[in-house]
């Protein structure tokens, strides 16, 4: 962590109790750590479910096929096999899983948990085996014979859009799932009359979330209570509960979803509902016995949703000063075999203009069905692709005009006094796309200063004259975050005098037990040690959305703040009666409420809970004391807030091999006020590593028949500590006016501009060759090909 990041204190949004050290903004070490570094964490596969059966799935090896028959006889005879079900055996589950985010224009095709007739991507489950152990279940899977009628498949948007393409879904006359265009101003006219125009095609590969813990779900049905308890590895317990209640026709109160206390990363795919999530609890109910399915990495590679694959056709028009007049971007989005949700392409659609003032915009989405695993959000969620389209063209404009790329950006950036800034497009919730706050030029200048941009350019020139291929790249972005609809916090004084903060959102490593205690501590003026945080159990708080889209600090944080303030008032109301002092004179001292700062006139939280919550059977409450010290508060942002940032990189390309080495990397980041700078830095740096993977290493290959070609870590490279370079962080804190904490999301900004920044730097390094980098990730092989192509020109 850089010392600077911690030293720059954010604006303090909350009045703290006099004398109490404010917790919001403090680099508090995490409460979660001790159990995790001593091996005492409890992840899904660590749960004690004595005697639980284990499941494995039969998955189609064909990208497009009709199931003729499934023979389970041999498998059923295997000792240790408890049960086998095909899709046809479970007609109750032949219900489509609705897209998480839809649009009236979507031509939605049904996605079944266990499709009985027709499969559309390699890895789609067609039968489930439940056995005494996973070992035996896998043995049985191999004994199940499925007769498939194999059909032609498509495995790219280009193939999907070809005139004679095989159709992914028989019901549709082509492979277009959705076609949406948004326009601001008069883009066609502007393109026609712009003094300069440039266009390019950019391809961004498929890549995955790759949480180190794969997916999984365990379930137990209690016949006595009629309650189904489900432990999924999910980012959205309430979403899972609602989906299961819908599938099983059960009341939502009879489905309890509990996310284990520890979760081994999410990154988006775990915010989606996969077919296995519906199948496992159902067979547990049929069997009246606990069943557990822990996805293995082989399954994760083929059956867990991915993201990123898009092809962008972008065109810009600009004047002699490099000022943007118009941007037009038509992009093909690979939706995979089904539309699990439209959030990703819709985000791409609206992220395009970024930090720039652009009077004319045309942004057009062509969403395609392909015979590959469906796509959904992965850290960054559609934004890195839009940033590639925009930021790569900013460099091309500079190159075309012989201007400095930093200068071109600064000339086009929205000024600090223009907020709230209306972009001219419509956000995915239908409201006018509006940036709440930010100061793009000042953050850019701070990053350039830290980067020593001018000096870096001089060093680049020196290196170039010595024959070295050194390049500099910039990448600016905005990130719509802190999305609605709402998130809640339930604060209660428990019988032992602890304030318990219960959240519906569930953590995936972000440190909720720490940061929500920090927020509640400042909201109440109560020391953190008397505050505990519980998460991820639908029986503890009735409504919630989940942890995704860098939204939780905004929504659950604001709800915690609000609830904390109200809980303090309630506690003081009781204390005022018990102490005979006016509430205004009260404050917390340790676990006691004190009147006038006099420890002699104080009452403990335990005493208060004894009166207010526990009570005495049949005895009247003291006059003026409210019963039940508990507050539940929900926060619904009026619209998304916008975090922003800009990255700067220097890279060197080995002319022999095309290998790329990152020499410098500076991240400028503005996510508004910061609750815990230690953890925000962690989010940014972790997101950055993911971006490095997208920029340089990660690609999920499929062949023309839709067969996955990179289905292990031998063929899919995640960056290690050796590949991820050291980063220098520059922070700016522009509070959001849209929530009382003034915070914005921090989970994805580190990822978003990395592919564009690195690509800009690599192309800059190759400028002596005039080589073009238009395909991500940028592998040495692609660099070599780009250099060779221009050599032969």
């Amino acid at each position: 962590m850089t010392a600077e990041a911690i030293a720059e204190a954010p604006v303090r949004p909350v009045e703290a109790t006099p004398g109490k050290q404010p917790m919001i903004g403090a680099p508090v070490r995490r409460r979660e750590d001790r159990r995790l570094i001593t091996g005492q964490g409890r992840y899904l596969d660590d749960l004690e479910l004595p005697g639980a059966y284990e499941a494995a799935f039969v998955r189609t090896p064909h990208a497009s096929a009709r199931i003729r028959s499934i023979d389970t006889t041999a498998a059923a005879r295997l000792p240790g096999v408890i049960g086998i079900w095909t899709g046809a055996d479970l007609p109750e589950l032949v219900k489509p899983i609705p897209p998480k985010v839809s649009n009236p224009l979507l031509r939605d095709m049904p996605r079944y948990p266990l499709p009985p007739e027709r499969v559309h991507f390699v890895g789609e489950p067609v039968a489930v085996v439940v056995a005494e152990s996973r070992y035996v279940a896998e043995d049985a899977v191999e004994l199940i014979e499925v007769d498939y009628e194999v059909l032609p498949a498509v495995s790219s948007t280009t193939a999907a859009l070809a005139p004679d393409a095989p159709r992914v879904h028989d019901e549709l006359d082509d492979n277009v799932a959705i076609h949406v265009t948004q326009v601001a101003g008069e883009p066609e006219e502007a393109l026609r009359t712009a003094p300069h125009r440039l266009s390019e095609r950019f391809v961004i590969a498929r890549g995955g979330g790759h949480s180190m813990e794969c997916r999984g779900v365990a379930a137990r049905y209690d016949v006595g209570t009629g309650q189904l308890t489900v432990w999924p590895s999910t980012q959205s317990p309430h979403y899972t509960r609602n989906m299961l209640a819908y599938f099983y026709g059960m009341d939502e109160d009879d489905v309890r979803v509990v996310v284990p206390r520890d979760s081994g990363g999410g990154f988006g795919p775990k915010a989606q509902f996969h077919g296995e999530d519906a199948v496992i609890p159902y067979v547990a109910m049929l069997l009246r016995h606990p069943v557990k399915w822990i996805e293995d990495r082989s399954e994760n590679f083929v059956a867990t949703m991915m993201e990123r694959n898009q092809v962008h056709h972008v065109e810009v028009g600009f004047d002699d000063d490099g000022k943007l007049i118009v941007v037009k971007n038509v992009f093909e989005h690979d939706q995979g075999a089904y539309c699990a949700g439209l959030q990703v392409p819709m985000i791409t659609l609206s992220t395009l203009p970024g930090q720039y003032r652009i009077p004319n915009i045309h942004t057009e989405l062509i969403g395609c069905y392909t015979n590959m695993v469906p796509t959904s959000s992965v850290r960054g969620a559609g934004r890195p692709q839009a940033v590639v389209a925009m930021e790569r063209m900013m460099d091309r404009i500079a190159e075309h005009l012989g201007l400095d790329p930093a200068e071109v950006r600064l000339r086009n950036m929205i000024r600090a006094d223009e907020f709230p800034y209306k972009v001219g497009l419509t956000f995915r919730d239908g409201s006018p796309l509006t940036y709440d706050s930010g100061d793009f030029p000042s953050l850019t200048k701070a990053v350039l200063a830290r980067f020593d941009y001018d000096g870096e350019r001089e060093r680049q020139a020196l290196a170039r004259s010595a024959g070295r291929l050194v390049g500099i790249g910039l990448g600016a972005y905005v990130e719509g975050c802190g999305l609605g609809p709402y998130e809640g916090a339930r604060l209660r004084l428990t019988n032992d005098g602890t304030v318990l903060v219960t959240l519906a959102a569930t953590p995936l490593g972000q440190g909720y037990e720490t940061i929500y205690a920090q927020i509640a501590s400042d909201a109440m003026g109560l020391d953190m040690e008397h505050i505990a945080v519980a998460t991820g159990d639908t029986s503890r708080i009735p409504f919630g959305q989940g942890s995704f889209a860098s939204r939780t600090t905004v929504t659950a944080g604001s709800a915690t703040l609000q609830a904390g303030r109200e809980l303090r008032e309630k506690i003081f109301e009781v204390a005022a009666v018990l102490l005979g002092a006016p509430a205004e004179e009260l404050c917390f001292q340790g676990d006691r409420v004190c009147a006038g700062g006099d420890p002699g006139r104080s009452v403990s939280l335990r005493d208060i809970v004894q009166v207010s919550n526990i009570g005495k059977h049949g005895i009247t409450m003291p006059r003026g004391v409210p019963a039940g010290i508990e507050v539940t508060s929900y926060f619904s942002p009026e619209r998304a807030s916008y975090a922003s940032g800009i990255h700067a990189a220097t890279v060197e390309v080995d002319p022999d091999t095309g290998q790329i080495k990152i020499l410098r990397y500076v991240i400028g980041h503005d996510c508004g006020n910061v609750i815990n700078p230690l953890l925000v830095d962690g989010q940014v740096l972790g997101g950055f590593a993911h971006g490095i993977g997208n920029a340089l290493y990660e690609e999920s290959f499929y062949d023309d028949a839709g067969q996955p070609q990179s289905a292990s870590y031998l063929d899919y490279s995640l960056p290690s500590a050796i590949e991820v370079p050291k980063v220098e962080l520059v922070h700016q804190f522009t509070p959001s006016p849209l929530n009382p904490l003034g915070v914005k999301g921090a989970g994805e900004g580190g990822t978003i501009p990395v592919p564009a920044t690195i690509a800009n730097a690599v192309e800059d390094a190759l400028r002596p060759f005039g080589a073009r980098i238009t395909s991500l990730p940028i592998t040495p092989a692609k660099v070599f090909a780009a250099m060779t192509a221009t050599n032969h020109r």
Binding site: M1, R29, R30, D33, R34, L36, I37, T38, G39, Q40, G41, R42, Y43, D46, G51, G80, E132, S133, R134, Y135, V136, D139, G209, H210, S211, M212, E213, C214, D262, S263, G264, G265, F267, H289, D296, R297, L508, G509, G511, L678, L679, D681, G682, V684, L685, G686, F688, A689, H690, S712, Y713, L714, L718, S720, A721, I722, V724, K726, V727, G750
Partner: protein, 176 residues
């Protein structure tokens, strides 16, 4: 429903394995195909060792066998017979005192979801036994055999350098 003895529900052939895990002698009858990782986790209930890829790349399952850091997903439980196995649960002292690398991981926010953490700690612990780790590059190489998807490794690099300083106070390091 049929009940089987612990550790044998995984196949037809079993064998008795006797091994010392974190200093405690353990004996169990296990299926011969049971991996060491599954044995530690599901038979001995030492769930601090995590399974992330089962093909030896991610490193989440790293443990020490006879003092050497190895992937427990690539060993069979029966191969631990007669050997000493140490897991993340044994890193802290008997009184709960954290090892320097554990303390440094927390201080430098070197973990987020924590799933990969045990494997990193075991890899670093082995490297630290061999000698000081004095440069950022050396720290990155020690960390390079494990994968973390959350942290971006910056905190881990600082943690390794600090733990090395704690363990080898006279060695020179990049960080004071």
């Amino acid at each position: 429903m049929p009940e089987s003895p612990s550790g044998t529900r995984t196949g037809h052939e079993t064998q008795v394995v006797r091994t010392t895990v974190n200093g405690v002698e353990r004996e169990a009858e296990v299926a011969t195909r049971l991996t060491l990782a599954d044995f530690l986790r599901h038979e001995l209930r030492l769930t601090g060792t995590h399974v992330g890829c089962e093909h030896g790349v991610c490193g989440a399952c790293t443990v020490h066998v006879d003092g050497a850091a190895v992937r427990s997903c690539l060993m069979l439980a029966v191969q631990a017979n007669g050997r000493r196995v140490d897991t993340v649960e044994g890193l802290a002292g008997p009184d709960g005192e954290l090892a320097p690398i554990q303390e440094a991981f927390s201080k430098h926010h070197a973990l987020q979801c924590g799933f990969c953490t045990s494997g990193f700690l075991m890899s670093v612990a082995e490297a630290l036994k061999e000698g000081p780790i004095e440069t950022e590059q050396a720290a990155r190489e020690v960390l390079g055999g494990n994968i973390c998807r959350c942290t971006g490794y910056a905190g881990m690099v600082d943690a390794v350098l600090e733990a090395s300083q704690t363990s080898y106070p006279t060695a020179k390091g990049e960080h004071a």
